[in-house]
Symmetry: D2
Subunit: 323 residues, 4 copies
């Protein structure tokens, strides 16, 4: 069996981690190239002993990299503004594409990638909603589908609209409202942005999701979710842990919290990469459709509009904003 030859584009924190995951956790994959336009990152990668050990070539030009001999797939981990154009370029060359979410901040551009994927059915294209691959969230999904019905979805964290679609059975939104506050980052004031925000989405059919998102968490990465059902509730990660150690001293009992998203979701990223690579290698369906990302973006923009205007954003049955 020949491994899948992959190039990782973007060598920021997440790009490096994608390389690590593909090398260490995905035996059917082989990272053959990385690409970055950042001079420091180029230097770092060029001198990296591990990259040399595994034969990873360093490119500074994306188009050149797409021409790497035998390249099968790209992992796009660049800044959001080039996600769509890099995806389109790869799709055009028949190269399978995993692009970090969101595909674009512009809905029309994102939709264009979806269309390009539809026109090239032999090319696998996916946006990376990694939480779908987390063992705890998958376990919760199984338990939810065993239950009768779902009333209310609760998630106190950023980037979780996708979970509400997953767990509530792809409901259609009806109205939403949001309120925010700027506590830590006065520099965001001129951007009309906030650092702590609460949002509520009312879906058709009596389902509700609410979100609390914060840019700052002193104690580490804390993403918790509650799903209320008719017969009880499910909680995912309400008490986050770094590991299984508890320290008892004169201050009481203490445990540490995973410092970042990565430590919490490292296994999910590995599972996601393995499932994608297997789908490509064995020509199976990808675990997640591109369209989901578009729906998530629409809800996110409706919440953002509510935050900026202070008014309720209303949505019709086709999911189009009415105001």
């Amino acid at each position: 069996m020949e491994p899948l030859n992959i190039a990782v584009v973007g060598l920021g924190r997440m790009g490096k981690r994608h390389v690590h995951t593909l090398v260490y956790r995905v035996p059917r994959a082989r990272v053959v190239a990385v690409c970055t336009t950042d001079k420091n990152e180029i230097e770092w990668a060029t001198n990296n002993e591990e990259y040399k050990d595994f034969g990873i070539q360093v490119y500074s030009n994306y188009d050149e990299m797409l021409g790497h001999r035998g390249l099968h797939a790209v992992w796009i981990s660049t800044s959001t503004d080039v996600h769509a154009s890099q995806s389109l370029a790869a799709i055009a060359k028949g190269i399978h594409t995993l692009c970090e979410k969101p595909l674009s901040t512009d809905l029309a551009e994102a939709q264009y990638v979806v269309e390009a994927a539809k026109c090239n059915p032999s090319v696998k294209v996916m946006a990376g909603f990694s939480r779908r691959f987390d063992a705890s969230y998958r376990d919760a999904a199984e338990k939810i589908y065993q239950q009768e019905a779902i009333g209310i979805f609760v998630d106190c964290a950023i980037h979780n609209i996708d979970l509400s679609l997953w767990y509530l059975g792809n409901p259609v939104p009806k109205a939403c409202w949001a309120a925010g506050t700027l506590q830590h980052h006065p520099e965001l004031k001129d951007l009309s942005d906030v650092d702590n925000v609460v949002g509520v989405v009312e879906f058709r059919g009596g389902k509700i999701a609410y979100f609390y998102c914060s840019r700052t968490q002193a104690h580490g990465h804390d993403v918790s979710t509650e799903i209320t059902e008719t017969n009880g509730k499910l909680m995912v990660n309400v008490i986050p842990n770094q590991n299984n150690v508890v320290l008892a001293d004169k201050l009481g009992m203490k445990h540490e919290v995973q410092p970042e998203y990565w430590q919490r979701f490292e296994d999910a990223f590995a599972l996601e990469a393995n499932e994608i690579v297997e789908a490509i290698v064995k020509n199976k369906e990808l675990p997640l459709s591109l369209g989901t990302g578009i729906t998530v973006m629409k809800i996110g923009q409706a919440l953002q509009q509510a935050l900026l205007t202070g008014e309720v954003t209303r949505v019709n049955e086709s999911g189009e904003r009415l105001n």
Copy 2:
């Protein structure tokens, strides 16, 4: 020292518990009378051995009961519609009054009780926000006041607007919105009521509270609160427990949850009763002002209006609704 002679009005579940608390946990108090118009409750109380042991007289007429010789105070635990009239009657006779919240569902009537209390400064009048007396919430309050500032308040439970006022430093509301769903109690439909609701209150000064309230909790009484601060967060009771026992069997690890409000807050009720009785006996200030209850009611009504209309309810700087 002479004990404080107290009558408990209303002998429903909570009325009986107030009698128990005053008898078993408040040595400076003596329950001398109870009053109820319900025939079953009258019979139950008349035949109750414990009530006989402690010399508790049973009345079916509230005004007669107010004339009980040597009566110092009443504990009003009747249905909300008579809270105000019973409070006013007691205050008029110079009898100290603890009234369960809310004083009334009618804001004007509640305000009238506040005025009556102001006109009779020697009579102690308090509305029972028992959660203020809970050891965990008090501990949280102390920890909050040690911190710099508070950004966002989170509480996933009913009856907790008061906590947001306490913890956020009596902020003035600006706008609120709510969304609800009816999942379990179709009989509430004609009343335009819901059984699960999410509400958000935006306060002036960049503080936000959000609430999730449910009429149904399969697993027991589950009231949890999160308070976000600049340097971290405080969580109260996110994993509720019946006691300290964990059972490990083939299903995993399990602990039971307090079945009702009472088991969770029994100690708070005892502390509340002791602090009130001491305030009366030693003529000290009551631990909670009546005005707080009025503010809580105003916010509750604004949220209710938002729920019914689907529109944002806006409030001016004096706390008056603008729509």
Copy 3:
């Protein structure tokens, strides 16, 4: 109904707490007297406003106190060396007696109290194994008795031999061994004593108990128990808590631990006192037999002997030591 008139002997930390519990939590009891030979305690009690409020008389002589008019019962909370003589004096005068454990460090003397109690069946005499009245331990006992059989008992704390008898169904010991270390209190070296000790008791019938006892716990009062059953295990208080508050900050997540035995078992002491007072007032059987205390002492002495000699202590079927 006349309350039970009680005198509390000994006004150290626990004596004061017994007074508080009887006053605040036991409505059928009235504390009429306290007794101590310690000058500071006498002065403290004489000037105590609360004691005056509740009409508590202060004695410095135990025999005089036993002659207090209308005295029904004594709560003995003095040093262990006078437990037996004070109990005997009270029993001789027909006064009900609650004595803190152990009745004596001398088995013969303890047995003498048991005999005196037997000869005066109208006098209620009990040794205070307060943990039997703790809600969590009672809940565990109920769950244990619902199960088929019990294999191994695990308890990592001091004073818990009684629990092993309770939960394992009063088994007869067969052999035991112990090992200790002196880490914090070099002054104990001359007394051949240790500050951390592990002991194992093998009972007849394939049941085993093991104990870990420490004189020092930096993080607060930490008493945990595990009971292994054929179908799982029960854990009591493996993660001790001061209350329901969790603080998340840059160090991670932290909760405080009850600082002392009292905070953990305050409710148990109140329940114990209420059950004893009710047994006396209504002439019902006491919740705990005196003989249990003797069995506990025998096992404790066998463990102590093992610790001092380094040899296994063996016990015959009648519970008598063989070496």
Copy 4:
């Protein structure tokens, strides 16, 4: 860089998992062969699509397998009785060896492997104490070494003598005792074996370890450890979890427990394999010395002798048994 060619011997549950770990988690390794004498396992491996994909050859003869072209290392996961002979055969051929613990149940035979390893310093030989590679245990070790001193070590699980040596700083044992019971497996009676056992080891220098080991755990894999220090204690995994999901329903709150050793320690096995492979490939020191395994065996045998004889086993300063 050429990967390390490895053969896995034994294809029971753990053997299969070693293959999986080496393929999926250790990019510098390549599994080139497996070996088993079990017909079902041979058939299973021969037909395994994944093994074909990764080019893994199946052997039924160990010596033949040792002759596999380009083989660098073996992972021995067979029954304990052939651990030593298979290790010796591999060492003799200059093949690096990872052998599951214990090297042998016979101390002399185990010592012989240690000698063989010493005589072939270019061959890396290690016994697999996988818990040393677990993130939680490593975190605990770091925290312990930051503290002043260690008093008592507590571990309620099987296979943990090694942890006591690690955490207590390689102490020398002095005496030990054990007691066991047979509750679930009557078939073990003729073998004088038990299914639940408690053991205590007293080390020189005032350090103590105690162990509780059970063959049966209804609720899943439950390995917990407590380490008492002068300033507090450390707890590892006292509340075991399958993942981050908590389910609240009418029975209370429940979480699942990892079903087996593997789910708890999968990451540790991966880290262990990566560290060993790196040590071999880069010719660095192995993370664990073979001698540690010998010391662990000696303590295990002393405890076993105590269990069978009912007497205290005593050990001299060189670690030799005195009785």
